[in-house]
Symmetry: C2
Subunit: 179 residues, 2 copies
């Protein structure tokens, strides 16, 4: 391998999201799967050869159902809601950054708001990673029609190589909402 390519680490963008279990601010099973696969199969012991970039896209209306039961009495209530969203996002990224720090892999993490598939492709264009890794819940064709997977969109539209890590069947939660 050329010395120049050894000097520049391979930059891998990992799109991460929260578990959909409400009030459970932890990585989704598929996000963790994508991250673990990247470490075990690609980075391996070559920590200095890679830089991991974590992108978490928050859907503005994601907590709509929770908020149905909330009462908004002052502008402060909206502010605290936004702060809660931010805290959840930071908690999620902290998980990945902490693990990278333990292993000694250089990393960066950030949060964007918007439609995940659009934002991911936009960020790929902006930061030009060498590889985009996205987790997938491995839905069947019937479920996919309704869900419209982020991973399929990225495979088609992201301007860099993309790898989709499907969740293994034994990790599928009984209730699909508990991802």
């Amino acid at each position: 391998m050329a010395t120049t390519s050894e000097a520049t680490p391979t930059r891998i963008l990992v799109a991460v999201n929260e578990s959909t279990i409400k009030g459970y601010p932890h990585p989704s099973i598929s996000s963790r799967g994508a991250f673990d696969w990247t470490l075990q199969k690609i980075v391996r012991s070559n920590a200095s050869g890679f830089k991991l970039l974590f992108l978490h896209v928050q859907v503005p209306d994601e907590d709509g159902f929770d908020d149905m039961d909330s009462i908004y009495a002052s502008p402060e209530d909206f502010k605290s809601m936004r702060q809660r969203d931010k805290a959840r996002g930071l908690h999620l990224l902290e998980y990945f950054v902490t693990r990278c720090h333990q292993i000694g892999v250089d990393c960066e993490a950030w949060i964007k708001k918007g439609d995940p598939k659009e934002v991911i492709c936009h960020e790929v264009k902006r930061i030009q990673p060498d590889l985009l890794v996205v987790g997938s819940r491995g839905l069947g064709p019937f479920q996919r029609v309704f869900v419209g997977t982020v991973s399929e969109f990225c495979v088609k539209h992201a301007e860099c190589p993309v790898v989709t890590i499907k969740r293994s069947p034994n990790e599928t939660p009984q209730d699909p909402v508990d991802d």
Copy 2:
């Protein structure tokens, strides 16, 4: 990283084919692109962490046009045609095996006959690699309708993570047949 995962190398299957320039038994631009990407971005200096598996699928009727001008006068003529196909396939694989040998990456290479997309997915099922890398000519949606890309089929059907390496626009030959 766990010591156990370091003991087992990451097995990457790279699907390779010939250049479509007739009488030019060398890797296609997209095959070489996929291979170079794998070395530069994934394997990097960690040669012992990876094992590369090269699969070349020969389409039985691939040389139909060449053979239009051939005259078959005896069973020997068919035999020599098959030997020529085999020699071309071996020549192709030799390129990849030689380069791996130079770098010190463990590898295996083999040839199968059949429909490339079907055979690749079948081989993935059989050998269960950690990652499948396929080159793509990066055709536009209009061209794709007629060509029906192998990479798209593999992304959908292969039972392992798949990454498609698109050929960069500046590597596109003027005549599309000269891939």
